[in-house]
Assembly symmetry: C2
Homo-oligomer: 502 residues x 2
């Protein structure tokens, strides 16, 4: 094998390992860290981040990438090594564009910004975070300037999480989706609500966790290569291809909270557990984009675990665990309750129909902030105005309005929210393609059999990691580029039936 | 403040943080790591170890230490900064004496050695590990050669864990202790055994854990700066002065296993939680030696938690948790059962009287191996012979003989075992000194009050960390150098009463 390529792989494997060390520090911070350890932990995370940046931007690494670049012309374009060189080049270029001084300024600002937000959010005190958020916006624009040649200042941010995507591609897609979703949500709002109170009876924690983890295993989450712990905010995190963990939270008065978040995170985990095992220690060994990742979590959470066939199999099992709470509840009652649509203020609590309205308005506000069309001081009013337009309601306080998500207070403005809606769109497109090849998937789901679906996803999506671009993966697996058609067909069919719409 | 000193402290703080990052990787390996993650974890641990060694042996660090060394003459000998410079110098000198190539050879050999041991131990197949152990011995001797000027080749090993101690000091101390312990154990062996079967009834895990953790908190273990998790082998580990964790294991058929190991580890943790808080991020912020550390764990485990006053307070509470299992058991029954003396094959299961016999024979065998008087092939016979002499029994297989402890198979030969017995000796000497100042400590213990004792330990032992030497700490806190007098007085008085010896 080429010596430079071998050396490059060794260097990249160290970078991967160091990323995973950093991830463990964060996982422990979210799961088990005692209060007294938090200051030291922040220091440890920052130390490892510094060591990582040194390795990611070292002259030696740059030299190795230069040395191997000519190899690409000798390799098939889809060969792992060609992809490795491409990805290593992309990562190195991005990392080296950012001066270490900028990164330090950014992270030290965001750490203060987060502290301010934690204190101010309960009171909804936007004034207390306004100046800090304005500085975050300045830094977010400064970030874009390190990537000259962009069309929209949000593009470099978007590219970081959804490589290859731009505002120019996303904006028309989201506009079309909004045009469809707003009237659908309005039509549903006029209909009587399904009863759902039984979901809010008392459901003991241990039984909720056991049920969720059992289903996660049924759909294919491998506990010899993963585990579940409790955190305030659920997430999926990876320490190697053989150690992909999920976390969940439990609300003893809400049967859906832990369950759907467990399946969501298990969906993310199935993606990482399904990567080509030869990608261990390689930058190819990661989900390819935020949108594709979210498509895997949403596919299992919504298209599978909020479907009627799924509960045909699992409702009897759930009733065995909670006989008193679910007494007399029919499959139809249950299905309608878990798919209840209700315009609400909080994104993370939103149903399938209204969820994207929350996301897309954030995306649009970000674009306006980044281009200077919207000043931070005017953000709460713009937020409330758009909520009224799209959802017919507005928050009484910034706590449940513009301050509800941590994103703008722990990270830059731009580049994150689009992934949630892209994920929903992709999820339906993938599921439709899987069903086209295997029409019996719904019947199998109704028997608690998920292997056909999981294998289709493994073969068409999971295995590739970053070897193919998101665009290539979607084209190859679904036979067409990203489109909202399958997603809107899915939503319309499902919710027309539930709400007896014309 | 002196600029070089400030720079040195910054460098040392990074070294401390990196040590703690490494510790977290190991903690997770022992607590929660799924099987599939173990290969990557070994790689991550080795990566961080490499980064740590680079920092610990960097030319820059050596230069800073040289720059600040003249400051010592301007500082009081007990001043923290003087101690910091001394300790930094000692650590740097030791780390730089070992060539990186030696460390790599050593760790890669030990990793193979451990794998061999894990496979061979269940069958007691000493032949399968013999060549590997012989190589460990060679490497252990090679280690000593990096520290020329030693009197005994075990001295550099001992100095690593019990700084300032040598074979010349330890050997006569251990010989005297053995002369006392062997006849004491033999006299006890002739007496009828206290009944103890009730300790092996069925004790549900959750209740055992809850009781142990409650007592750990009662003696002062602070859960806002610590936590407890389950592992195969219990241990204490630290990620910062505000995050000192313990682990335990539970045997549902042995009430003593989880409880005494929890108190043992909590004793270690009290030491680390009791360090001067200004030592955060400093190499002074660690227990000073293996022996002193073990003295703190053994003091709480044995002198406190195996005492009669202690159970006067806690037995009624224990009976509330386990009313059926402990029905009709008197304080005296319980006290005699948890202090049952019984010559046995396994060190970690041994009682207070015979425990040191297990330790001292290992120490003596190590010395013989390191000087070449005992060949590895003759080790099992030498082991069995000495067990017969000291304990009157010999193992039927190497599994419960020379292969029982992981120490010689995961580490070098030499330098570790002495700490266990030094700890026992120190523990009684400290406890006697505390009682001399505060004669009411036993009465307080009988009321579940531990503050006087803990504060005495905090003031006289814990706070110093590595600021004073172990020898200075013992001299200062007990008014005399290390001696077996208090320890033998304690054992004789306690066990003469329990066993009605003349």
């Amino acid at each position: 094998m080429n010596t430079a390529l071998t050396k490059l792989k060794t260097q990249l494997a160290k970078i991967e390992d160091l990323k995973h060390v950093s991830a463990l520090l964060m996982w422990d911070q979210a799961t088990y860290l005692p209060q007294g350890g938090s200051e030291a932990r922040a220091r440890q995370i920052s130390l490892v981040a510094g060591l990582l940046q040194q390795k990611q931007t070292s002259h030696e690494l740059g030299k190795l990438i230069d040395d191997v670049t000519p190899l690409i012309s000798q390799l098939a374009p889809e060969a792992s090594d060609a992809a490795l060189i491409r990805v290593a080049r992309e990562d190195f270029d991005r990392e080296t564009r950012l001066p270490a001084t900028f990164t330090q300024r950014l992270y030290s600002h965001l750490s203060r910004s987060y502290d301010l937000w934690v204190k101010a959010r309960p009171k909804g005190d936007f004034k207390a975070v306004q100046a800090s958020l304005a500085h975050t916006l300045e830094l977010s624009r400064e970030y874009s300037e390190f990537f000259p040649g962009y069309v929209h200042p949000a593009d470099p941010h978007i590219d970081l999480n959804d490589p290859g995507m731009t505002v120019a591609q996303i904006q028309p897609l989201f506009a079309a989706l909004r045009t469809e979703l707003v009237p659908l949500a309005q039509a549903i709002a006029k209909k009587p609500k399904p009863k759902s109170g039984f979901l809010n009876k008392k459901y003991p924690e241990a039984e909720q966790l056991a049920f969720g983890l059992q289903v996660a295993q049924d759909i294919g989450y491998d506990l010899t290569r993963g585990r579940q712990d409790k955190t305030h905010h659920p997430f999926m995190i990876k320490f190697s291809l053989g150690d992909v963990r999920i976390t969940t939270r439990v609300n003893p008065n809400d049967l859906g909270d832990a369950f759907f978040s467990t399946i969501h995170e298990a969906g993310h985990a199935l993606y990482e557990q399904g990567l080509d095992p030869t990608f261990e220690g390689s930058p190819l060994g990661h989900g390819v984009s935020a949108g594709i990742h979210e498509s895997q979590s949403r596919l299992w959470e919504n298209l599978v675990a909020r479907s009627k066939p799924f509960w045909k199999h699992y409702l009897p099992k759930l009733k065995k665990r909670f006989p008193a709470q679910l007494k007399g509840i029919s499959l139809d009652d249950f299905y309608r309750a878990i798919n209840r649509v209700q315009p609400s203020l909080i994104r993370v609590d939103a149903d399938e129909v209204t969820y994207n309205l929350h996301v897309m308005l954030r995306f649009d506000l970000e674009l306006q902030m980044l281009t200077g069309k919207l000043a931070i001081k005017d953000l709460p009013d713009a937020w409330n105005e758009r909520y009224k337009q799209d959802l017919g309601i507005a928050p009484p306080s910034a706590r449940d309005g513009v301050m509800q998500d941590m994103h703008w207070f722990t990270g830059m403005i731009g580049g994150v929210f689009q992934g949630y809606t892209l994920g929903n769109i992709y999820s339906a497109q993938c599921f439709a393609a899987a069903l086209k090849t295997h029409p019996k998937i719904p019947e199998q789901i109704a028997k608690g059999q998920f292997e056909t679906l999981r294998k289709w996803l493994g073969k068409n999506i999971h295995q590739y990691g970053r070897r193919l671009t998101p665009q290539d993966i979607i084209q190859k697996s679904t036979g067409k580029p990203l489109s909202i058609t399958d997603y809107m067909n899915y939503l319309r069919k499902k919710y027309r039936a539930i709400y007896a719409l014309v």
